[in-house]
Protein backbone atom coordinates (compact mmCIF):
# COMPACT_ATOMS: atom_id res chain seq x y z
CA UNK A 1 0.00 0.00 0.00
CA UNK A 2 1.31 3.46 -0.86
CA UNK A 3 1.99 5.69 2.13
CA UNK A 4 1.89 8.82 0.01
CA UNK A 5 -0.37 11.47 1.50
CA UNK A 6 -3.25 12.69 -0.62
CA UNK A 7 -3.15 16.48 -0.39
CA UNK A 8 -6.19 18.23 1.06
CA UNK A 9 -7.04 21.71 -0.12
CA UNK A 10 -8.94 24.17 2.03
CA UNK A 11 -9.83 27.81 1.67
CA UNK A 12 -8.01 30.09 4.10
CA UNK A 13 -9.60 31.11 7.39
CA UNK A 14 -9.65 34.90 7.39
CA UNK A 15 -10.65 37.49 9.94
CA UNK A 16 -10.30 41.18 9.06
CA UNK A 17 -7.99 40.34 6.18
CA UNK A 18 -5.69 38.27 8.33
CA UNK A 19 -5.22 34.60 7.44
CA UNK A 20 -5.14 32.14 10.33
CA UNK A 21 -3.73 28.63 9.89
CA UNK A 22 -5.53 27.25 12.94
CA UNK A 23 -9.31 27.12 13.05
CA UNK A 24 -9.20 26.59 16.82
CA UNK A 25 -8.94 29.61 19.10
CA UNK A 26 -8.04 28.82 22.70
CA UNK A 27 -9.48 30.53 25.77
CA UNK A 28 -6.88 30.79 28.52
CA UNK A 29 -9.40 30.60 31.39
CA UNK A 30 -9.54 27.73 33.83
CA UNK A 31 -6.05 26.24 33.52
CA UNK A 32 -4.68 25.46 36.98
CA UNK A 33 -1.07 25.99 35.96
CA UNK A 34 0.55 28.20 33.31
CA UNK A 35 2.71 25.21 32.25
CA UNK A 36 -0.45 23.28 31.37
CA UNK A 37 -1.77 26.26 29.41
CA UNK A 38 1.50 26.36 27.42
CA UNK A 39 1.30 22.61 26.69
CA UNK A 40 -2.35 22.95 25.65
CA UNK A 41 -1.47 25.83 23.30
CA UNK A 42 1.12 23.61 21.59
CA UNK A 43 -1.38 20.74 21.37
CA UNK A 44 -4.14 22.91 19.88
CA UNK A 45 -1.69 24.75 17.55
CA UNK A 46 -3.85 27.81 18.26
CA UNK A 47 -2.56 31.16 17.02
CA UNK A 48 -5.01 33.29 18.98
CA UNK A 49 -5.46 32.96 22.76
CA UNK A 50 -7.96 34.99 24.75
CA UNK A 51 -7.08 36.89 27.93
CA UNK A 52 -9.09 38.93 30.41
CA UNK A 53 -8.12 42.23 32.00
CA UNK A 54 -8.28 42.37 35.80
CA UNK A 55 -6.84 44.29 38.75
CA UNK A 56 -3.12 43.58 39.16
CA UNK A 57 -2.56 40.83 41.68
CA UNK A 58 0.74 41.58 43.48
CA UNK A 59 0.89 37.95 44.63
CA UNK A 60 0.53 36.46 41.11
CA UNK A 61 3.09 33.80 40.26
CA UNK A 62 4.46 33.90 36.72
CA UNK A 63 3.45 36.25 33.94
CA UNK A 64 0.65 35.11 31.66
CA UNK A 65 1.82 37.54 28.95
CA UNK A 66 5.36 36.12 29.07
CA UNK A 67 4.05 32.55 28.73
CA UNK A 68 1.87 33.51 25.75
CA UNK A 69 4.77 35.39 24.12
CA UNK A 70 7.02 32.34 24.53
CA UNK A 71 4.35 30.23 22.80
CA UNK A 72 4.36 32.70 19.89
CA UNK A 73 0.60 33.31 19.98
CA UNK A 74 -1.36 36.52 19.55
CA UNK A 75 -3.42 37.77 22.48
CA UNK A 76 -7.13 38.27 21.99
CA UNK A 77 -8.38 40.39 24.92
CA UNK A 78 -11.96 39.89 26.03
CA UNK A 79 -14.45 42.08 27.86
CA UNK A 80 -15.66 39.26 30.09
CA UNK A 81 -17.57 40.37 33.15
CA UNK A 82 -19.02 43.50 31.52
CA UNK A 83 -22.79 43.96 31.84
CA UNK A 84 -23.18 47.26 29.95
CA UNK A 85 -22.03 48.59 26.59
CA UNK A 86 -20.22 51.40 28.37
CA UNK A 87 -18.16 49.05 30.59
CA UNK A 88 -17.32 46.85 27.61
CA UNK A 89 -16.17 49.82 25.51
CA UNK A 90 -13.93 51.16 28.31
CA UNK A 91 -12.53 47.65 28.93
CA UNK A 92 -11.78 47.20 25.21
CA UNK A 93 -9.94 50.52 25.16
CA UNK A 94 -7.94 49.57 28.26
CA UNK A 95 -7.06 46.28 26.56
CA UNK A 96 -5.92 48.13 23.45
CA UNK A 97 -3.71 50.28 25.66
CA UNK A 98 -2.36 47.24 27.54
CA UNK A 99 -1.71 44.87 24.66
CA UNK A 100 -1.36 47.14 21.64
CA UNK A 101 -4.04 45.26 19.70
CA UNK A 102 -7.22 46.52 18.08
CA UNK A 103 -8.75 43.03 18.22
CA UNK A 104 -11.31 42.37 20.92
CA UNK A 105 -13.56 39.49 21.85
CA UNK A 106 -16.61 41.53 22.80
CA UNK A 107 -18.71 40.11 25.62
CA UNK A 108 -21.63 41.96 27.18
CA UNK A 109 -23.40 39.67 29.57
CA UNK A 110 -27.07 39.83 30.52
CA UNK A 111 -27.10 37.97 33.81
CA UNK A 112 -24.84 36.09 36.16
CA UNK A 113 -26.83 32.86 36.19
CA UNK A 114 -26.80 32.17 32.45
CA UNK A 115 -23.94 34.43 31.29
CA UNK A 116 -25.97 34.82 28.11
CA UNK A 117 -25.21 37.88 25.97
CA UNK A 118 -27.34 41.02 26.30
CA UNK A 119 -28.26 41.61 22.64
CA UNK A 120 -29.11 45.33 22.65
CA UNK A 121 -26.07 46.28 24.78
CA UNK A 122 -23.83 44.04 22.65
CA UNK A 123 -24.94 45.73 19.43
CA UNK A 124 -24.47 49.18 20.97
CA UNK A 125 -20.92 48.33 22.13
CA UNK A 126 -20.07 46.76 18.75
CA UNK A 127 -21.16 49.89 16.85
CA UNK A 128 -19.12 52.14 19.11
CA UNK A 129 -15.97 49.99 18.95
CA UNK A 130 -16.15 49.50 15.17
CA UNK A 131 -16.41 53.30 14.81
CA UNK A 132 -13.28 53.60 16.96
CA UNK A 133 -11.29 51.28 14.67
CA UNK A 134 -11.53 48.02 16.63
CA UNK A 135 -11.65 44.57 15.04
CA UNK A 136 -14.71 43.35 16.91
CA UNK A 137 -15.42 39.64 17.45
CA UNK A 138 -18.71 39.53 19.37
CA UNK A 139 -19.75 36.63 21.57
CA UNK A 140 -23.43 36.43 20.63
CA UNK A 141 -26.58 34.39 21.08
CA UNK A 142 -27.43 31.66 18.57
CA UNK A 143 -29.84 34.17 17.00
CA UNK A 144 -29.51 34.55 13.21
CA UNK A 145 -31.07 38.02 13.24
CA UNK A 146 -28.78 39.42 15.92
CA UNK A 147 -25.79 37.84 14.13
CA UNK A 148 -26.79 39.65 10.95
CA UNK A 149 -27.21 42.95 12.81
CA UNK A 150 -23.72 42.54 14.29
CA UNK A 151 -22.28 41.85 10.85
CA UNK A 152 -24.10 44.90 9.46
CA UNK A 153 -22.59 46.95 12.31
CA UNK A 154 -19.14 46.09 10.94
CA UNK A 155 -18.05 43.21 13.18
CA UNK A 156 -15.15 41.22 11.70
CA UNK A 157 -16.72 37.87 12.66
CA UNK A 158 -19.65 36.58 14.67
CA UNK A 159 -19.22 34.15 17.53
CA UNK A 160 -22.52 32.45 18.42
CA UNK A 161 -22.76 30.25 21.48
CA UNK A 162 -23.54 26.55 21.30
CA UNK A 163 -24.84 26.68 24.89
CA UNK A 164 -23.98 28.76 27.99
CA UNK A 165 -20.34 29.47 28.88
CA UNK A 166 -18.74 26.59 30.75
CA UNK A 167 -21.88 24.45 30.58
CA UNK A 168 -20.35 21.82 28.29
CA UNK A 169 -23.86 21.27 26.87
CA UNK A 170 -22.67 21.26 23.27
CA UNK A 171 -24.70 22.80 20.46
CA UNK A 172 -28.32 23.03 21.66
CA UNK A 173 -29.69 24.56 18.48
CA UNK A 174 -27.73 23.32 15.47
CA UNK A 175 -30.45 24.64 13.13
CA UNK A 176 -29.84 28.21 14.29
CA UNK A 177 -26.08 27.80 13.89
CA UNK A 178 -26.69 26.52 10.33
CA UNK A 179 -28.95 29.55 9.63
CA UNK A 180 -26.26 31.93 10.92
CA UNK A 181 -23.64 30.24 8.71
CA UNK A 182 -25.92 30.34 5.67
CA UNK A 183 -26.43 34.10 5.89
CA UNK A 184 -23.04 35.23 7.19
CA UNK A 185 -20.64 37.22 5.03
CA UNK A 186 -18.01 37.16 7.79
CA UNK A 187 -16.41 34.22 9.59
CA UNK A 188 -18.60 32.35 12.08
CA UNK A 189 -16.81 31.00 15.14
CA UNK A 190 -18.65 28.78 17.57
CA UNK A 191 -17.93 30.15 21.03
CA UNK A 192 -19.04 28.58 24.31
CA UNK A 193 -20.73 25.28 25.09
CA UNK A 194 -18.20 22.83 23.67
CA UNK A 195 -17.89 19.99 26.18
CA UNK A 196 -15.88 17.46 24.22
CA UNK A 197 -14.37 16.78 20.82
CA UNK A 198 -17.60 15.75 19.05
CA UNK A 199 -19.18 19.14 19.84
CA UNK A 200 -16.30 20.90 18.05
CA UNK A 201 -16.59 18.51 15.09
CA UNK A 202 -20.34 19.23 14.86
CA UNK A 203 -19.71 22.99 14.83
CA UNK A 204 -17.40 22.59 11.86
CA UNK A 205 -19.76 20.16 10.10
CA UNK A 206 -22.48 22.80 10.43
CA UNK A 207 -20.21 25.13 8.47
CA UNK A 208 -18.61 27.24 11.19
CA UNK A 209 -15.22 28.63 10.15
CA UNK A 210 -13.67 28.04 13.55
CA UNK A 211 -14.23 27.12 17.19
CA UNK A 212 -13.28 28.99 20.35
CA UNK A 213 -12.84 26.70 23.29
CA UNK A 214 -11.70 27.21 26.90
CA UNK A 215 -13.34 25.18 29.67
CA UNK A 216 -13.71 21.96 27.64
CA UNK A 217 -9.91 21.86 27.47
CA UNK A 218 -8.79 23.63 30.63
CA UNK A 219 -11.19 21.81 32.97
CA UNK A 220 -10.84 18.36 31.39
CA UNK A 221 -9.21 15.72 33.58
CA UNK A 222 -6.29 15.74 31.14
CA UNK A 223 -6.30 19.17 29.48
CA UNK A 224 -3.44 18.46 27.08
CA UNK A 225 -5.02 15.22 25.80
CA UNK A 226 -8.33 17.07 25.31
CA UNK A 227 -6.47 19.85 23.48
CA UNK A 228 -5.18 17.26 21.00
CA UNK A 229 -8.65 15.73 20.69
CA UNK A 230 -10.43 19.02 20.02
CA UNK A 231 -7.80 20.13 17.48
CA UNK A 232 -8.29 16.83 15.62
CA UNK A 233 -12.08 17.22 15.85
CA UNK A 234 -11.98 20.72 14.36
CA UNK A 235 -9.88 19.41 11.47
CA UNK A 236 -12.13 16.35 11.02
CA UNK A 237 -15.31 18.44 11.08
CA UNK A 238 -13.88 20.88 8.58
CA UNK A 239 -12.94 18.06 6.20
CA UNK A 240 -16.36 16.44 6.60
CA UNK A 241 -18.12 19.73 5.84
CA UNK A 242 -16.08 20.12 2.65
CA UNK A 243 -16.59 16.49 1.70
CA UNK A 244 -20.40 16.81 1.75
CA UNK A 245 -22.24 14.35 3.93
CA UNK A 246 -24.88 11.92 2.61
CA UNK A 247 -28.49 12.95 3.23
CA UNK A 248 -30.28 11.46 6.22
CA UNK A 249 -33.03 9.02 5.20
CA UNK A 250 -35.55 7.05 7.21
CA UNK A 251 -35.09 3.73 5.44
CA UNK A 252 -32.00 1.75 4.60
CA UNK A 253 -30.31 1.97 1.22
CA UNK A 254 -28.16 -1.05 0.30
CA UNK A 255 -24.59 -0.29 -0.63
CA UNK A 256 -24.10 -3.72 -2.28
CA UNK A 257 -25.68 -4.33 -5.73
CA UNK A 258 -29.25 -5.64 -5.64
CA UNK A 259 -28.83 -7.10 -9.18
CA UNK A 260 -27.01 -10.36 -9.91
CA UNK A 261 -27.83 -12.24 -6.72
CA UNK A 262 -27.01 -15.99 -6.88
CA UNK A 263 -30.02 -18.29 -6.93
CA UNK A 264 -29.36 -20.66 -4.03
CA UNK A 265 -32.92 -21.82 -3.37
CA UNK A 266 -33.15 -25.63 -3.10
CA UNK A 267 -34.97 -27.57 -5.92
CA UNK A 268 -38.72 -28.12 -5.40
CA UNK A 269 -39.37 -31.86 -4.55
Amino acid sequence: MSTEQIPITDTPFEIAGRTLRSRLILGSGGFRRLETLADAIRATRAELVTVALRRIDPGARGSLVDVLDECGVELLPNTAGCYTARDAVVTAKLAREAFGTEWVKLEVIGDERTLLPDGPELLLAAEELVADGFVVLPYTNDDPILARRLEDAGCAAVMPLGSPIGSGMGIRNPYNIALIVERAGVSVILDAGVGTASDAALAMELGCDGVLCASAISRAEDPVAMAHAIRAAVEAGRLARGAGRIPRRLHAEASSPTEGMADVTPPVE
Binding site: F31, R54, I56, D57, V90, A95, E97, A98
Partner: protein, 66 residues
Protein backbone atom coordinates in the same frame (compact mmCIF):
# COMPACT_ATOMS: atom_id res chain seq x y z
CA UNK B 1 -6.10 59.60 50.20
CA UNK B 2 -6.74 57.75 46.95
CA UNK B 3 -8.08 54.29 46.19
CA UNK B 4 -5.84 51.91 44.21
CA UNK B 5 -7.68 48.85 42.93
CA UNK B 6 -10.35 49.40 45.56
CA UNK B 7 -7.99 49.84 48.51
CA UNK B 8 -7.46 53.21 50.25
CA UNK B 9 -3.86 54.47 50.14
CA UNK B 10 -2.08 57.64 51.32
CA UNK B 11 -0.64 58.28 47.86
CA UNK B 12 -2.14 61.58 46.66
CA UNK B 13 0.47 63.30 44.46
CA UNK B 14 2.13 60.05 43.32
CA UNK B 15 2.69 59.34 39.63
CA UNK B 16 1.22 56.31 37.87
CA UNK B 17 4.71 54.81 37.61
CA UNK B 18 5.08 55.09 41.39
CA UNK B 19 1.68 53.49 42.01
CA UNK B 20 2.55 50.59 39.70
CA UNK B 21 5.82 50.15 41.63
CA UNK B 22 3.73 49.88 44.83
CA UNK B 23 2.03 46.89 43.18
CA UNK B 24 5.37 45.38 42.17
CA UNK B 25 4.93 46.15 38.47
CA UNK B 26 7.49 47.85 36.24
CA UNK B 27 6.11 50.63 34.05
CA UNK B 28 7.55 49.04 30.91
CA UNK B 29 5.77 45.73 31.57
CA UNK B 30 3.59 44.67 28.64
CA UNK B 31 -0.07 44.01 29.27
CA UNK B 32 -0.72 46.76 31.83
CA UNK B 33 -3.35 49.49 31.61
CA UNK B 34 -4.44 52.22 34.02
CA UNK B 35 -7.65 54.20 34.44
CA UNK B 36 -8.22 57.11 36.81
CA UNK B 37 -11.85 57.86 37.66
CA UNK B 38 -12.95 55.75 34.71
CA UNK B 39 -10.71 57.53 32.19
CA UNK B 40 -7.80 55.74 30.55
CA UNK B 41 -4.36 57.22 31.25
CA UNK B 42 -2.16 56.50 28.20
CA UNK B 43 1.19 54.84 28.87
CA UNK B 44 3.00 57.93 27.55
CA UNK B 45 1.57 59.96 30.46
CA UNK B 46 2.47 57.57 33.28
CA UNK B 47 5.62 59.41 34.37
CA UNK B 48 3.93 62.82 34.62
CA UNK B 49 0.31 62.08 35.57
CA UNK B 50 -0.05 62.68 39.33
CA UNK B 51 -3.12 61.45 41.18
CA UNK B 52 -5.22 63.82 43.26
CA UNK B 53 -6.88 63.33 46.60
CA UNK B 54 -10.04 61.24 46.14
CA UNK B 55 -8.98 59.70 42.80
CA UNK B 56 -10.04 56.13 42.01
CA UNK B 57 -7.16 54.36 40.28
CA UNK B 58 -7.58 51.03 38.52
CA UNK B 59 -4.35 49.25 37.53
CA UNK B 60 -5.02 46.23 35.36
CA UNK B 61 -3.11 43.42 33.74
CA UNK B 62 -3.72 40.24 31.77
CA UNK B 63 -5.38 37.38 33.61
CA UNK B 64 -6.49 34.00 32.36
CA UNK B 65 -9.96 34.21 30.88
CA UNK B 66 -12.13 32.63 28.20
Amino acid sequence: MITLNGEPRERAGATIVELLADLGVEARARGVAVAVNGEIVPRADWTRHRVDDGDRVEALSAMQGG
